[in-house]
C-alpha cells in the first residue's frame, strides 16, 4: 500500500521482504552504487565476474528459510523434531536439507561398509545384503509424501495457536524416493507358511522398531537408497531406510538393518504406547498406518501479513495415503462457498499435489480454507468432524480443514470456526 511495497514479490511473505531489504543495505554499505538515477544503476553483480564453480552447491545468501527445530524433552534433546518451512517453498518437492525430521535417539553416523540388511525369522533362508548389493538391484523411483503421524496436532488443542503453517503442519515433506521393492528381497529369502508380519528394525541407538502386515510390506514398500536423486542423508536413514508410501512416517524405519518375518506383530513400544489413536470411549486404534486425505493452504498462511490489496495466488499442498488427489476446493468465506483450485503435478499416487487459485483481496476480513478429495472419494473433514471420535490425548492422524483468518489489516491467523 506504500511506495516501498512495490518491490515485494507477488507471493508476499515477511521472509522474502527481509531478504530484499538486506540486499539493498549491503549494496549501500559497500558504496558501489553509482550516484545516478536508480533506474540506470548497473548492479554490482553485472560489473565483474562472479564466484567460480564448486564441487558442492550452496543456495543464495539471500535465501534464509530454515527448518524450525524443536528439541526433545530436557532428558533427550536429540529425540526431537524439525519442521519443513512450507510457507516459503513451492512446487511439490522438498529440498533434502529442509525435509522434516523426527528422531528417537539422534542421528547415527553409520559407516556403510559395516552396515547391512538382514532378513530372518519365518523365511526359508536368512539372507544378508550389503549396501552395494542393494544398489545393484532393479530400482524404482516414485514421488511420495512423508508425514509424521503427529503432524498438525496443535490444531487438536482446545485453543487455536497463533502460529505459522511451518509450526503447525511442517512435519510434512515430499520427495522422489528411489529404492529396491521390498518384495524382491522377501521373495529371495522365501517366506514360509507362518509369515504374516515383518518387523523392521533400525540401527540407531533407539533401535526403532515397527511391524507391518506382510501384504502391505509386499505392496509398494521399498528399501530406499536415494532421495531426490542423491544418496540418502544421515537424517533420513543413510545408508538405507524402509519407505512405506502413504503410511505414517514412523513406519518408514530409518537406518534399516534387520527385518524379522514372523506370525504376529512385535507390539513394540512405538506401536502400542505411542502411535495408537485413543478414542473417547477409552479404546485405542492400533496399526492405523494410512495417513488420511488432507490439504493446507501454505500461502497466505499464519504469521503472514498481506501488504496490499489486489490479486493474490492462494496456494497449498494436498495429499492422501489412500491414493492420489482428485480435487481441492478453496473457500475464502469460511466454508460458505467453495471453488475448485487448479491442481499441478496431478495424479501422483501418495504424492504431494500443489494447488493454486487466484484471489482478490479488497481489505475485508476473510477466512481461507482448502478441502481435498482423494481418488478413493474420501473428503477432508472439518476440524469438528476430524476430532469427533478421538480422545483429548489422541493427537495422531489429525486431518481437519485448516482455517486461516485474514483481518482488515492483512494479518493472517490460525482460527477455529
Amino acid at each position: 500500500m506504500t511506495g516501498s511495497d512495490k518491490r515485494l514479490p507477488e507471493q508476499g511473505g515477511l521472509l522474502a521482504r527481509r531478504s530484499l531489504l538486506k540486499a539493498t543495505t549491503v549494496g549501500i554499505a559497500g558504496g558501489f552504487l553509482l550516484p545516478t538515477q536508480a533506474a540506470e544503476t548497473v548492479p554490482l553483480w553485472s560489473t565483474h565476474s562472479g564466484s567460480a564453480q564448486s564441487e558442492y552447491g550452496e543456495r543464495s545468501a539471500f535465501v534464509q528459510d530454515q527448518r524450525q527445530v524443536q528439541f526433545g524433552n530436557p532428558y533427550g534433546p536429540q529425540a526431537g523434531v524439525s519442521y519443513t518451512p512450507l510457507a516459503t517453498l513451492n512446487g511439490s518437492i522438498t529440498p533434502n536439507s529442509l525435509h522434516f525430521e523426527r528422531h528417537h535417539s539422534g542421528i547415527p553416523a553409520i559407516d556403510p561398509s559395516l552396515h547391512s540388511l538382514t532378513i530372518y525369522g519365518d523365511v526359508k533362508r536368512a539372507v544378508r545384503f550389503s549396501v552395494d548389493d542393494l544398489r545393484a538391484y532393479p530400482l524404482e523411483s516414485h514421488c511420495y509424501f512423508l508425514e509424521c503421524s503427529g503432524n498438525s496436532y496443535l490444531n487438536t488443542l482446545p485453543r487455536a495457536q497463533d502460529l505459522s503453517v511451518q509450526a503447525i503442519h511442517g512435519l510434512l515433506s515430499g520427495s522422489e524416493w528411489t529404492g529396491v521393492p521390498l518384495r524382491y528381497l522377501l521373495d529371495e529369502a522365501g517366506l514360509d507358511s507362518r509369515a504374516r508380519w515383518i518387523v523392521a528394525e533400525g540401527a540407531d541407538a533407539s533401535g526403532h522398531t515397527r511391524s507391518l502386515p506382510i501384504d502391505l510390506a509386499r505392496d509398494k514398500v521399498m528399501v530406499a537408497l536415494y532421495q531426490n536423486g542423491e544418496v540418502l542423508r544421515p537424517a533420513q536413514g543413510y545408508p538405507m531406510r524402509l519407505f512405506v508410501p502413504g503410511s505414517e512416517g514412523n513406519v518408514s524405519v530409518k537406518w534399516l538393518h534387520k527385518i524379522k518375518v514372523q506370525q504376529t506383530p512385535a507390539y513394540s513400544r512405538e506401536e502400542t504406547s505411542k502411535y495408537t489413536d485413543l478414542l473417547k470411549n477409552g479404546k485405542a486404534e492400533m496399526f492405523s498406518f494410512a495417513m488420511q486425505v488432507k490439504s493446507v493452504i501454505t500461502s497466505p498462511s499464519g504469521a503472514m501479513v498481506l501488504q496490499r490489496r489486489g490479486i493474490y495466488e492462494v496456494s497449498g499442498l494436498a495429499w492422501s495415503g489412500a491414493g492420489s488427489i482428485r480435487g481441492v476446493e478453496v473457500s475464502a468465506d469460511g466454508g460458505q462457498s467453495w471453488v475448485a483450485a487448479t491442481l499441478q503435478s496431478q495424479g501422483g499416487d501418495r504424492a504431494l499435489t500443489r494447488f493454486r487459485i487466484p484471489w482478490r483481496w479488497q481489505g475485508h476480513g476473510a477466512v481461507l480454507q482448502s478441502r481435498a478429495t482423494d481418488s478413493a472419494g474420501n473428503i477432508q473433514p472439518s476440524r469438528e468432524m476430524a476430532l469427533a471420535r478421538y480422545s483429548a490425548a489422541g493427537f495422531y492422524h489429525y486431518n481437519g480443514i485448516q482455517s486461516w483468518a485474514v483481518d482488515p489489516q492483512g494479518v493472517v491467523k490460525n482460527v477455529y470456526i
Binding site: 524433552n73 532428558y75 533427550g76 529425540a79 528417537h104 535417539s105 538382514t118 530372518y120 525369522g121 533362508r125 536368512a126 539372507v127 544378508r128 545384503f129 550389503s130 552395494d132 548389493d133 545393484a136 538391484y137 532393479p138 521393492p181 524382491y184 528381497l185 521373495d187 529371495e188 529369502a189 518387523v199 541407538a205 533407539s206 533401535g207 522398531t209 502386515p213 502391505l216 534387520k258 524379522k260 514372523q262 504376529t264 506383530p265 512385535a266 507390539y267 513394540s268 513400544r269 502400542t272 504406547s273 495408537t276 485413543l278 473417547k280 470411549n281 477409552g282 479404546k283 485405542a284 486404534e285 492400533m286 496399526f287 492405523s288 498406518f289 494410512a290 480422545s391 483429548a392 490425548a393
Partner: protein
Amino acid sequence: MFISSSLRWLIGPHNLAVTAAAVLVLLASPAALTQQHSTLAEAAQLGHHLQPRLGRTVDNVADSIVSPDGSALPEGSGTAAIGEGVYRARCSACHGPVGAQKGNSLVGGIGSLATGKPFKSIGSYWPYATTLFDYIARAMPYGQEKSLTANEVYALTAYLLHLNGIVGAQQVVDKDRLPVISMPNRDGFIELHR
C-alpha cells in the same frame, strides 16, 4: 564399487539367461546382437524375474525382537526388589525417584482412558509386558542404550510392573513368566491393519 557390483550381477549363479546374453554381446555378431535386444526386451517385460539375487545365506542371526509370545527373551531373571536399585542408578535421573517424573512418567492413570483426562502409562495403557523388556533392552537408558545386562533388564521390568501394581516385590520375572503377565489394558486396542 559399481564395476564389482555389475560383475557380480553378470556372473551370479541364478542368472543364467542374463549371463548368456552377456556372452552373446561379447561375441558381437549381428545375430547375437539381435538376440541380445530380444533378451533385454524380455527382461523389461519380466521385470522382477531378472534380479541379481545377491543375498548371502546367514546362519544364527541374533534375534533382537521380543514379541508377546516371549520369542528372543534371553536367559536370566530379576525381581522388583533388585530392580529398585538398578532403577535408582540408571533411570531415576530422567524418570524421577519412583517413576513419576512429570512429562516422563511411567506410572498411574489406570481407569482414566475413557475420561476427559486420560493418562497413558505402562500400567494404564501398555497391552503387553514383553514390550517393556524389548524397549528397555534396545533403547534405554537414553544416551547409554544397550548397556544393561539381561538380568538388569528383567529386574527393571519387574520394578516398573511393581510400581504399577501388577507384580509383587519378590515375584521373579524371566523368559517363561514375563509373557504370561496380564496387563490391565490388554483388551484396550482395536487393530486396523491399514
